[in-house]
Symmetry: C2
Subunit: 115 residues, 2 copies
DNA sequence: ACATTCGTACGCGCTATGCGACTTAATGAT
DNA sequence: ATCATTAAGTCGCATAGCGCGTACGAATGT
């Protein structure tokens, strides 16, 4: 799991194994081991991987499907966001319709303010 | 970091070391090692810890302060929610004003639907 | 043509993980 | 009061596996 995600992330950034390992301050073979699934990073290494790739440890480990540092940022327009996160108002969960209305509302508002 | 968080989480739930270890399917001494900081859990163990304690791996590792983010529900009316989590629409972050308007809007809408 | 960079794989030293066994303290049962 | 049970903590040991250097083909560049 982690190996696939690391590999995908690195290729997205167009980084070589060597470059990535240098950024992390570890040997190329060590990082390569993570990607091949031959090795597992230590907890410290894991944290640095998440920081370097600007993602969450949960994503690297496959605990969540959401890529980004959604630990900090939640993009409300991302598809099926409500299947991953339950948003509530007055402890009553938000429907997709309500969210869509809100998004439309904000977009309109911003458009008007832009003028 | 992880040791402190585990210890706090377990005590919150009023679980013994033995009980917790049983739930995880590992030896008591192993889990005790995690809490004392004498040992570090494997990645697999780490994931199971997060599941058992109903939190995120990022929280266990101290990557985030928020106890449960995506995993649980986010109450939009809770005070200073935006200081913990950034909500964005079209990658532009939401202001407190916008959120307040939305909350008011939803409350009004629900009130009307209730009749 | 040679050199350089890429991804991949192997062997090895040594750390430290995970386990059971043991101790000590606290609580419960009879 | 005595024993049994459960709690938390510590230790030694076997061995799994981490991190490293190193080496190998393949694909580039010069």
């Amino acid at each position: 799991m982690i190996s696939k995600r690391l590999s995908k992330l690195r290729k997205t950034k167009n980084w070589s194994l060597q470059y990535t390992a240098n950024r992390l301050g570890i040997a190329k073979s060590t990082y390569a081991g993570y990607e091949s699934g031959y090795r597992q990073p230590s907890l410290d290494a894991l944290k640095e991987l998440a920081v370097l790739f600007e993602t969450s440890v949960d994503y690297l480990l496959g605990m969540t499907e959401t890529y980004a540092s959604e630990r900090d940022t939640i993009e409300l327009t991302s598809k099926d966001i409500l299947s991953q996160i339950s948003l509530t108002i007055d402890e009553k969960s938000l429907s997709q319709d309500e969210l869509n209305q809100f998004i439309a509302f904000i977009r309109l508002k911003r458009e008007m303010e832009a003028k």
